[in-house]
């Protein structure tokens, strides 16, 4: 038993009100942070306070409340940008990661991709980083191509080079961390090769921002997207970081209030970045909540979050071997993976695994994890997935293992 895991570095569970909840007299063993994270009190209270004391529409109000709301909203944007090492003006709030990717596929894609061009993605992408590109390719006559996933759950830089050498790739989109395999991809290296080939890159960092220290400038991708609710923030908000020159050259996506400079009868001109891409009333309370979330994560220190989750994942990989009949999918080395552990339990369908262990209040996800193509590649109909947050500790892993042992018995 790894002592590093049994003595976890973070002790923050009490910051998260949901863990006060018991179901049938038992505590909550929450191992589904890759689907959505739990929220610290600081995040919930920041939104509460916004609605109770400062609520007003932003940007155009002269009165005090409207100024406060504007400052809270734009202040949150500054802190979110600083947290990920991005510029404030190129940090755009979207509804979620999915909308951020669609924004790029519609606004940049429809203007820049045509017949014969290639959009390159990978076999490990989430549906949100597949379907927008399918729609783009179908709409423009471009070709959608995939980088393979190895049996260990990794990508090949050589294959990337070979695809780029074809000269037709216009944009390559790939996950920073896979939500199924846990694989941490070498995104800075990939983005730099894509750029050298004259193409653009989009990194889906939905799983990375909550798990590891990220630096948008250092990654150097043209677009870098993530989603608030997985990063201790609220639902209803996501982030698109873009390169300034690319964003400036792009036509807008959604039209409406706030994204315009002047609306004339037949045409309009656009507001400056980032507002050009933020149509209609913004997710004001959600931005305030996300600001509180990155403040909280910043105080924990993302190196500490990563070290904590890495140790815990290593411990989980060890302990799962004790169950017997558990097959873990994805890279075996804890240094090469995040805190997302997909597995199969011999003889028990993942759906039944999730149902059975829920009886001990152990929450894991079962299914295709919005990655049907990857399931096909792996030759499995579905997997069970346990995923970690900063609030987890070794006792959660122990509870999972115990619950799995019991589940096996039912199907024995």
């Amino acid at each position: 038993m790894a002592t590093s895991a049994t003595t976890p570095r973070l002790h923050v569970r009490s910051d998260f009100p949901i863990f006060a909840r018991e179901i049938d007299g038992r505590p909550l063993i929450y191992l589904d942070s890759a689907a959505t994270s739990q929220k610290p009190a600081a995040v919930i209270e920041a939104m509460d306070d916004y609605y109770r004391r400062h609520n007003a529409n932003i940007h155009r109000g002269v009165y005090t409340l409207a100024q406060e709301a504007t400052d809270l909203f734009e202040g949150a944007r500054e802190r979110v940008a600083a947290f990920t090492g991005a510029e404030t003006a190129t940090t755009i709030f979207t509804r979620n990661a999915t909308e951020a990717i669609n924004l790029v596929a519609y606004a940049w894609g429809r203007a820049n991709v045509g017949p014969g061009d290639v959009v390159l993605i990978t076999q490990m992408e989430h549906h949100s980083n597949i379907v927008p590109w399918q729609l783009l390719c179908q709409g423009t006559g471009a070709e959608l191509r995939y980088l393979d996933v190895s049996d260990e759950g990794t990508l090949s830089l050589d294959q990337l080079d070979a695809e780029l050498a074809g000269g037709r790739v216009k944009l390559a989109a790939f996950a920073h961390i896979s939500n199924v395999l846990g694989t941490i991809n070498p995104v800075a290296e990939m983005a730099s090769r894509v750029r050298a080939a004259g193409a653009l890159s989009l990194v889906d960092a939905s799983q990375a921002v909550p798990q590891i220290p990220v630096d948008v400038a250092a990654v150097g991708a043209d677009f870098y997207v993530w989603t608030g609710h997985k990063a201790l923030g609220p639902t209803g908000i996501g982030v698109l970081h873009g390169r300034r020159d690319v964003l400036e050259a792009m036509p807008p996506f959604l039209g409406g209030g706030d994204m315009i400079r002047v609306v004339d009868w037949q045409e309009s001109t656009w507001n400056d970045l980032p507002w050009k891409f933020e149509a209609g009333t913004s997710m004001i309370a959600e931005a305030v909540g996300l600001g509180a979330a990155v403040d909280y994560l910043g105080e924990l220190g993302m190196e500490n979050v990563r070290a904590h989750e890495r140790a815990l994942a290593a411990y989980a990989l060890e302990r799962l071997a004790d169950v017997g009949g558990v097959r873990v999918i994805g890279p075996p080395d804890p240094d090469e993976r995040g805190g997302v552990i997909s597995f199969e339990l011999e003889g028990v369908h993942p759906h039944d695994v999730a149902e059975l262990i829920n009886r001990q209040n152990v929450c894991v996800r079962a299914g295709h994890h919005c990655a049907m193509p990857l399931m096909r590649r792996l030759g499995v109909p579905a997997t069970a997935r346990a995923s970690l947050g900063p609030y987890n500790d070794a006792s959660d892993v122990d509870a999972l293992v115990e619950a799995l042992v019991n589940a096996k018995k039912v199907f024995a």
Partner: protein, 126 residues
């Protein structure tokens, strides 16, 4: 004993009746449970307006597999036109276990493909 995973459920799961392919067949359908990725297909042989034989195939959880296996024994011999009349309660009563909202679609997938094959209506039974 487990409320949901009763012995006969596990038995049907581990040794599903009427499982496989059926060639040639007269009717067929294939569908998914979008929530969990389970898939199920059916091949049906019709004689004199009745279901003479059928086989389910696909991959899924104990509930969806056992439900298909148990229901398959009822489908055989049934007039084809009657399948469209069957509703969700029919399957759930047949299963005889408490089915939560989340597992409902697992239980209903076999009826969905049966209705798809016999009536062309691929909506979820209600």
């Amino acid at each position: 004993m487990d409320d949901l995973y009763r012995d006969y459920i596990l038995d049907h799961y581990k040794q599903p009746r009427n499982f496989g392919e059926l060639e040639p067949h007269d009717l067929e359908a294939h569908d998914h449970n979008p929530l969990c990725g389970d898939e199920m297909g059916v091949h049906i042989r019709v004689r004199d307006g009745k279901i003479a034989d059928l086989r389910f195939h696909g991959q899924g959880c104990a509930i969806s597999q056992a439900a298909a296996s148990i229901a398959s024994e009822e489908y055989v011999g049934m007039p084809v036109d009657d399948v469209g009349q069957l509703d969700a309660d029919w399957v759930i009563d047949l299963l005889g276990i408490p089915i939560s909202a989340t597992r409902r679609k697992c239980a209903l997938l076999n009826l969905k493909v049966m209705r798809g094959a016999t009536t062309g209506d691929a909506s979820w039974p209600e």
